[in-house]
């Protein structure tokens, strides 16, 4: 974010696969579940489409966190794309550990029906990052 004052409102960019996680986020909307407006979602065909570079781009452009959400392991509509995602994101997190930024990246599985799980996951992440930001300020 450009304005420093808004720093206590975390901005989170999420990449969600069309078949499961994006559907879940759609359903969360239809069920009028609430989650913070700082969370914004980019739709991708499959979580395996997410190049770690997109995640890096999001964080370098100022996002406080980024997540990748896909179908549960074994449920991938592209057979096993999400297994690749799991490996890639794990490696990326490992790399970000060096900068103590690994907490800014999350990977989770949400099936198309799990609107509640989707909201729980993103809210949890939002809270964690918000607390982390506040601590950073104090320090």
């Amino acid at each position: 974010m450009a304005e420093e004052a808004k720093k206590d409102i975390p901005e989170i960019v999420g990449f969600a696969c069309s078949f499961c996680s994006f559907k879940a986020s759609e359903m969360a909307g239809s069920l009028r579940m609430k989650y913070p407006e700082g969370i914004k979602i980019v739709q991708v065909p499959c979580s395996s489409r997410v190049d770690p570079a997109f995640v890096i781009k999001a964080l370098f452009e100022g996002a406080d966190g980024a997540f990748v959400a896909g179908c549960h392991p074994g449920d991938c509509h592209f057979i096993k794309g999400n297994y690749y995602t799991r490996r890639k994101i794990a490696a990326l997190k490992e790399m970000f550990k060096a900068f103590s930024m690994d907490k800014k990246i999350k990977l989770f599985w949400v099936s198309a029906s799990e609107a509640r799980r989707f909201v729980e996951k993103v809210e949890h992440m939002y809270k964690e990052i918000k607390e982390g930001n506040n601590e950073g300020k104090k320090g």
Binding site: K23, G74, S113
Partner: protein, 434 residues
Amino acid sequence: MGERYLQEKHVLVVGGGIGGITAALELASCGVRVTMLEGGPSIGGRMIQLDKTFPTLDCSSCTLTPKMVEVALHPRIELMTLAKPMGIERNGKGFSVSIQKRPRFVDMKKCTACGACSGACVMKGRLSDEFNLRLSKRAAIYIPFPQAVPQKYLVDGDGCLFVSRGKCKKACVEACETRAINFDEKEEIIESYYDAIVLAPGFDLYDATEKREYGYGSLEGVMTGIEFERICSVTGPTGGEMVINGKTPKRFYFIQCVGSRDRQTGARFCSRVCCMYTAKHATIVRDRVKDAEIYVSYIDVRAYGKNYEEFYKSTQEGGTYYIRGIPGDITQGEKGLLVRVEDMLSGELREIEADLVVLATGVRPRKDTAELCNLLKVDRDEYGFIRTDSIAPSRTSTKGVFVCGMASGPKDVPDTVASGGEAASRCLEYIGEQ
């Protein structure tokens, strides 16, 4: 190839559950025109009421909803909801059918499914919701469930004060910005010719009130499997929270073969799905209610499908106690329900306390199947299922009429899907002969 002649053919599919959906989609993808009749306001059938499916535990609606939408959008499928065949006459090799279409009182072209009407309805929260098996309340103008196809509201004629009594301030009409509500809509009769008919009317569940010793309907905390399914579902009456009468039960008792393999209930047959859906329920409980105590009563565990045995094993290993023996009765005890059962493996008579007893009710032919079969002169077996031939599993006694799914006998989802495809294949062969 066959494309051109198939385009001139028109098949009627009766029933919009997963069996009918499969048959209709296969027929349409082969080039045939299809009309699908669904008695209720939305397609999806029983499967869409389920929370999860065994043995993968993936959610029922996310596998089925795309198929439902495909039916609605398919250029060769005409979907008629609130519709059923009234009269059928043989006409050459095909059939002349008159279809009764009940009014929806909502213009499907105008309705945007925004829900404003439902919120304004004076009957809001006062009518029983059938989709949730009367476990929750709805308004007189409503959408049966969030993913309904068509995604349109409808007026329940019996519940609506204006339709049933002619007296209401009609707040819904005010609330609707697109002016979609139309109380002048009348019942329609549509006459049409079809080259063949696929029956997929589905099934009913055994009425557990008949089994008095289990106290269903009189004892609090005794429910059926399908009701429990709605309790588990995120779109259900509790939003997926396992709460019954305000409390989360801790001690669960599941009874299999209620209304199956039981001459007293008039059903010698096995319903084929109850063993597995019970194992699924037990697994869901294990997952959601920590420290739950779970018992399952059974005669034989029929985990016959792909990965079913493994699922049953993991249910057992997850800490569900399987008791071989079907309880004699259930009574109200001081600290909960008392289930009396003779454990055939140990030979002892046990009394087990439970907060919730779930009856795995068996499958029955749908009540209106009889009417449908009479119209078509289709034979049924001693239980009322449509009679077929094991060599041609969808062929009925009437030429040009095919059946798929549970209507010809209990089946699980994959078997129903395969039978839907088989019915489509026989149907294509039949219309090709003409």
